[in-house]
């Protein structure tokens, strides 16, 4: 079940609230790539790309693309003032040293204790982990943006991941079309509820156990 543009942007907009000026942020492909659309103009967030850019800017205008200035997905980008280029080892040194403040990525499954599975469907697709293991294990904050359920209607927020893991206990926050879950020491906590979904509907759609925050925020009436 794919999500419409409006819902994808709603998820991206909520994720944008988690980043602020001065942060080094790495965005995955898909919904995470929409996050910059929801940041204030004139921000001072430095976007990091695995292929060696610190300080990615917006997409270039048509006709202004430079084949040698692309993001990790292979699509043209621009750079902002203060940007720099580096080789791949330096780009990953920043990740392993914990200098990436936030990484926002997609997932196939996230478990109650924050285990992440996002790179392999055994017997179907074996694309390779790319930089996902490094980022998931070492970014200061790992935010997952994903559909609440897969295309068969099966919850992607699970008690325990059945797919091979990208990294253990690495996810801090999960944002889906239904709401926002924080991974706490004791398990998942629903902090934000997105209308039109009711708590009952979220419960029925979620395999993982979760608590409901006493200061639950309800969005988009």
């Amino acid at each position: 079940m794919g999500l419409g543009a409006e819902i994808r942007h709603k998820i991206a907009k909520r994720a944008a609230m988690e980043i602020r000026d001065g942060m080094l942020v790495n965005l995955g492909i898909g919904i995470p790539s929409l996050v910059p659309d929801h940041l204030p103009a004139g921000h001072f967030i430095m976007f990091h790309a695995e292929n060696g850019i610190v300080g990615m800017g917006k997409s270039p205008d048509e006709g202004e693309e430079d084949a040698h200035l692309c993001n990790a997905g292979g699509y043209p980008v621009t750079i902002r003032e203060g940007a720099s280029y580096c080789d791949s080892t330096t780009a990953f040194g920043m990740i392993r040293k914990g200098l990436v403040d936030v990484t926002i990525l997609g997932a196939l499954q996230v478990s109650e204790n924050g285990d992440l599975a996002n790179w392999i469907v055994p017997g179907k697709r074996v694309p390779g982990m790319g930089g996902a293991m490094d980022l998931a294990a070492k970014a200061k904050k790992v935010i997952v943006l994903m559909n609440h359920q897969d295309k068969h209607g099966i919850s992607k927020l699970v008690k325990s991941c059945t797919l091979p893991l990208t990294a253990k206990r690495c996810v801090h926050m999960v944002i889906t079309e239904m709401g926002v879950f924080s991974v706490m020491p004791g398990g998942l906590l629903l902090t934000d509820q997105f209308s039109p979904y009711t708590i009952e509907e979220i419960k029925v759609s979620t395999e993982a156990e979760f608590e409901i925050s006493e200061s639950l925020t309800i969005y988009g009436e």
Binding site: A49, E50, N51, G52, I53, E65, D66, A67, H68, L69, C70, N71, A72, G73, G74, Y75, P76, Y85, C86, D87, S88, T89, F92, G93, I95, R96, I120, R125, V126, P127, G128, M129, G130, G131, A132, M133, D134, A137, K138, P164, L165, T166, A167, K168
Partner: protein, 234 residues
């Protein structure tokens, strides 16, 4: 502009044929084909060599970058972090025609760097809990921490792309087309740089040179890419 070939490194693609043979290992620079030397990939295709071990970040796209060699089944083994953008790689892996060793991207590039720097390997905790990475690799405890031992990577020949070179082989790269090129440039027993522009000795600022020419054995001028990028395909 007359360029003196002082170090006898500047040559034509046709002068390089003797460097390639069946069964050899080739390390390549590039990320999704960006920064992969197009002329050298085509030379390898034309030479019809096979059973290659290819080492680099990814397998490009089916008709972009190193992906061309993968698509034409020239590789028997690949060490990479990602093959998802080239469905042929996944298909040949499934049929058993291609052996793929996955290495997390940060680990892979550091292994390439270690190979170029004359080291035996690196210690990292990335993949310590993940079976596809850990496999039967040795672990080492240092103080409170445990690390995987990841071996250095070298190759018979490295092929890289740069924006500018001088006759000594000093290289300056081009924005995000730098990516794995400086690492591949150091890790080859023989390194060939395909460059957009060759400038006279002394024309590059010593402060801007990324790869010192001592790592580079051959320099060829590039004719540019002969493929369409994914974002150009309508």
């Amino acid at each position: 502009m007359l360029i003196q070939n002082t170090f006898q490194k500047i040559c034509h693609l046709t002068d390089l044929k003797h460097l390639f043979e069946d069964g050899m290992s080739i390390m390549f620079g590039g990320f999704g084909g960006i920064g992969t030397p197009p002329g050298l990939v085509n030379l390898i295709l034309e030479l019809a060599i096979k059973d290659l071990t290819l080492i680099g970040n990814d397998t490009g796209f089916p008709h972009i970058g190193i992906g061309k060699l993968v698509t034409e089944k020239r590789a028997k083994r690949i060490i990479a972090s990602h093959i998802g953008s080239n469905p042929n790689a996944g298909r040949y892996m499934t049929t058993g025609e291609l052996e793929v060793e996955f290495s997390p991207q940060g680990t892979l590039v550091e292994r390439m760097r270690a190979g170029g720097m004359g080291l035996g390997g690196i210690l990292t905790d990335i993949g310590l809990d993940e079976e596809i990475v850990k496999r039967d690799k040795q672990t080492i405890s240092l103080g409170e921490k445990t690390f995987l031992v990841e071996t250095a990577l070298t190759a018979d020949v490295s092929i890289v792309y740069a924006k500018k070179a001088d006759p000594f082989g000093n290289l300056v790269y081009d924005k995000s087309a730098r990516n794995t090129n400086p690492l591949a440039a150091m890790a080859g027993a023989v390194t060939i740089a395909e460059v957009k522009e060759i400038l006279p000795l002394g024309a590059l600022s010593p402060e801007e040179i990324v790869t010192p020419g001592v790592f580079v054995d051959y320099i060829v001028e590039s004719k540019g890419v002969d493929w369409q990028w994914v974002w150009e395909q309508k």
